[in-house]
């Protein structure tokens, strides 16, 4: 039931970073599993940062988390049936997104009901996943990797699937990006201008499902936020401009993923811990930076009533 002790337990020798950076990088790239992990991590980081940016903007973090969690029984069930976990992740996440979209279609549901539905779906999904993994032979290392992530077992085929899906999703988001941005920022004006807000939100949920299921294969179901929310939230702390924000989110996501992969290679702790910690550190830094910037630029604060009235008085 142990989380696969990453690094030490799997390598016959304990790898340690030397002082020669180039040699270290070359060493990392000598192992097929490490190359797969880095390729998959890169794809997932870019995809998650872009989709996550829209998700944070649309305040759908909780929905994103729910969709990722729904992937867990999918993956565990696929393992019971002898299929690959990847298939289960995508099938269940997409089905879950459709259910959430359908429930939302009843326009009278408010945020309260919606979040209660999402929470219940989440708990039910985890319960089913728990049952499936107990059928599969106890809460084995495999099930724990589904929850908390692992980068050791990523196959070349998986990297290919991730890459193809990422290209499709990114192409689609590039196509609907502008209206989606409009619909996310001001839905009522967008409706008035004839933007198909409803169709866009369903389309976005489906894209989110693919991104969450992709991220879950590396971060684990429970830790998708490390790549889906945190880089995007960090970028939005630093800039409100869409293109710059998206670029920044991708850069942060890549930095977080690469740092975590290298750390997990050398230190025998789970990758989920490194991913979330690096991401959180980036968020904290951005938070402090945005605070400092606001303080050092007093011109941007709202003028006091005295200042406003100054020219009138004199």
């Amino acid at each position: 039931m142990s989380v696969p002790a990453v690094g030490a337990a799997t390598d016959p020798f304990q790898p340690a970073p030397g002082w020669d950076l180039l040699a270290d990088v070359r060493e990392l790239f000598t192992y097929a599993f490490m190359i797969n992990a880095i390729e998959a991590g890169t794809v997932v980081a870019v995809l998650s940062a872009v989709i996550g940016w829209f998700m944070v903007l649309r305040r759908q973090s909780f929905t994103g988390h729910t969709i990722a969690v729904i992937g867990f029984p999918g993956a565990a069930g696929a393992l019971v049936l002898g299929l690959s976990a990847t298939v289960g992740f995508y099938a269940f996440a997409i089905a879950g997104a459709l259910v959430i979209a359908a429930v939302r279609f009843d326009g009278r549901l408010g945020y309260r009901t919606e979040s209660a539905v999402a929470g219940t779906i989440q708990a039910a999904a985890l319960a089913c996943g728990f049952w499936f993994s107990s059928l599969y032979g106890g809460f084995t290392g495999g099930a724990s990797a589904l929850l908390f992530g692992s980068f050791l077992g990523i196959t070349a085929g998986q990297v290919q699937t991730l890459g193809v899906l990422a290209v499709i999703v990114l192409a689609l988001i590039a196509m609907i990006g502008r209206p989606l941005l409009f619909a996310s920022v001001d839905p009522s004006v967008a409706v008035a201008r004839g933007v198909p807000v409803r169709a866009l939100s369903v389309a976005f949920l489906l894209l989110l499902a693919v991104a969450a299921a992709s991220a879950a294969q590396i971060t684990g179901t429970l830790l998708v936020f490390a790549l889906l929310v945190v880089p995007a939230a960090t970028a939005q702390l630093l800039t409100a401009r869409p293109v710059l924000g998206l670029g920044l989110g991708v850069a942060i996501g890549l930095a977080v993923t690469w740092t975590a992969l290298v750390a997990a290679y050398y230190v025998p702790y789970p990758i989920g811990f490194f991913l979330t910690s690096t991401a959180f550190a980036a968020y904290l830094l951005a938070f402090l930076a945005s605070r400092l910037r606001r303080r050092s630029r007093p011109a941007e604060r709202a003028p006091t009533s005295d200042e406003v009235l100054e020219p009138v008085r004199s």
């Binding site: 039931m1 142990s2 989380v3 002790a5 944070v56 305040r59 973090s61 909780f62 988390h65 945020y111 309260r112 009901t113 979040s115 209660a116 539905v117 999402a118 929470g119 219940t120 779906i121 989440q122 708990a123 039910a124 985890l126 319960a127 089913c128 728990f130 049952w131 107990s134 059928l135 809460f139 724990s144 929850l147 908390f148 429970l222 830790l223 936020f225 490390a226 929310v229 945190v230 939230a233 939005q236 702790y269 789970p270 989920g272 811990f273 490194f274 991913l275 979330t276 910690s277 991401a279 959180f280 968020y283």
Partner: protein, 299 residues
């Protein structure tokens, strides 16, 4: 068939482990039903979700440093609950802040799990990670069950004492504040109570499944009655019902873990509330007349 099933179900209370499970389970379910209704009414399901993950990290963190997991549970959930309340506007935490913080906290939990499973203590208590994630209500000891039930009752009394202003503040914060209800202080106290509830529920159904016990009965109650006081009562009753049915089902079919049957029962009841229409409409109006204070507040 039916009689033998009856016989076996009646016989289940002869087992001390079932008795303990019912004692702790019903108390925790009552608490979760009441607190959960307020959580849904206040639209804080996401915060409850975050606290459930905190519970996991707290318990495993305590195990990793060799303490009783319950100490870690309560310290972590109540502490983080207060922190979220203070960080958020008006005692409510922001979505993105919650998401970011709880991703990291869960990451720390994974670290604690790996430290703990690698340590010597884990050899005698190998299932600790699973029982914290998914509960082990059948494994509660005599003292643990009593303590869990007692704490649940105390928390329930506190919540019920505050239930009127809490409902008022949840339905219409601005009006409540204008009427002199200390909205912010209530929000902070409620997050602490929610934290303690999460810690309690973790011992029954586990950190990952407690959201089902909080959100599902409350969501169903919210669909079946608009009267908030009837809603609290109904939510508590549905939570207890899910607990009893879930425990009995797991007893009858041992291959189904109890936390699975409890969660699925609660979710099933919620799903039913989307199919069955709200039965009581006229009572709502009568209640409103009787309670003029709430009239302005019901949506």
């Amino acid at each position: 068939m039916a009689s033998s099933l009856d016989g076996s179900l009646l016989g289940m209370l002869d087992h001390p482990f079932m008795e303990r499970a019912f004692l702790a389970g019903i108390a925790v379910a009552l608490l979760c039903g009441v607190v959960g209704y307020l959580v849904v009414l206040r639209a804080q399901v996401f915060a409850a979700d975050a606290l459930s993950h905190v519970a996991f990290t707290g318990a495993l963190g305590a195990l990793a440093v060799g303490l009783d997991p319950r100490i870690g549970l309560f310290v972590a959930t109540v502490g983080i609950g207060l922190l979220l309340a203070v960080l958020g506007p008006r005692g409510r935490a922001d979505d993105v802040v919650i998401g970011t913080v709880f991703a990291w906290i869960l990451g720390l939990g994974v670290l604690a799990l790996s430290v703990y499973t690698a340590s010597a203590a884990a050899a005698s208590n190998g299932g600790a990670g699973v029982s914290i994630l998914f509960g082990s209500i059948f494994g509660l000891g005599e003292g643990a069950a009593r303590l869990t039930a007692a704490v649940a009752v105390v928390l329930l009394i506190i919540v019920l004492a505050l239930v009127r202003p809490l409902i008022f503040a949840s339905i219409d914060e601005a009006v409540a504040a204008a009427r002199g209800v200390p909205v912010t202080a209530l929000g902070v106290v409620f997050m602490a109570l929610l934290g303690a509830t999460a810690a309690e529920a973790t011992q029954a159904v586990g950190a990952l499944l407690l959201l089902g016990l909080l959100a599902a009965p409350a969501g169903a109650a919210l669909r079946w009655t608009k009267d908030p006081f009837a809603g609290v009562a109904l939510s508590a009753a549905l939570a207890v019902g899910s607990m009893v049915v879930g425990l009995a089902a797991s007893y009858a079919a041992p291959s189904l873990p109890p936390s699975f049957t409890i969660t699925v029962t609660a979710s099933g009841i919620y799903a039913l509330s989307f199919v069955l229409p709200r039965p009581v409409r006229r009572r709502v109006r009568r209640r409103r007349e009787r309670r003029p204070g709430i009239q302005a507040a019901t949506p």
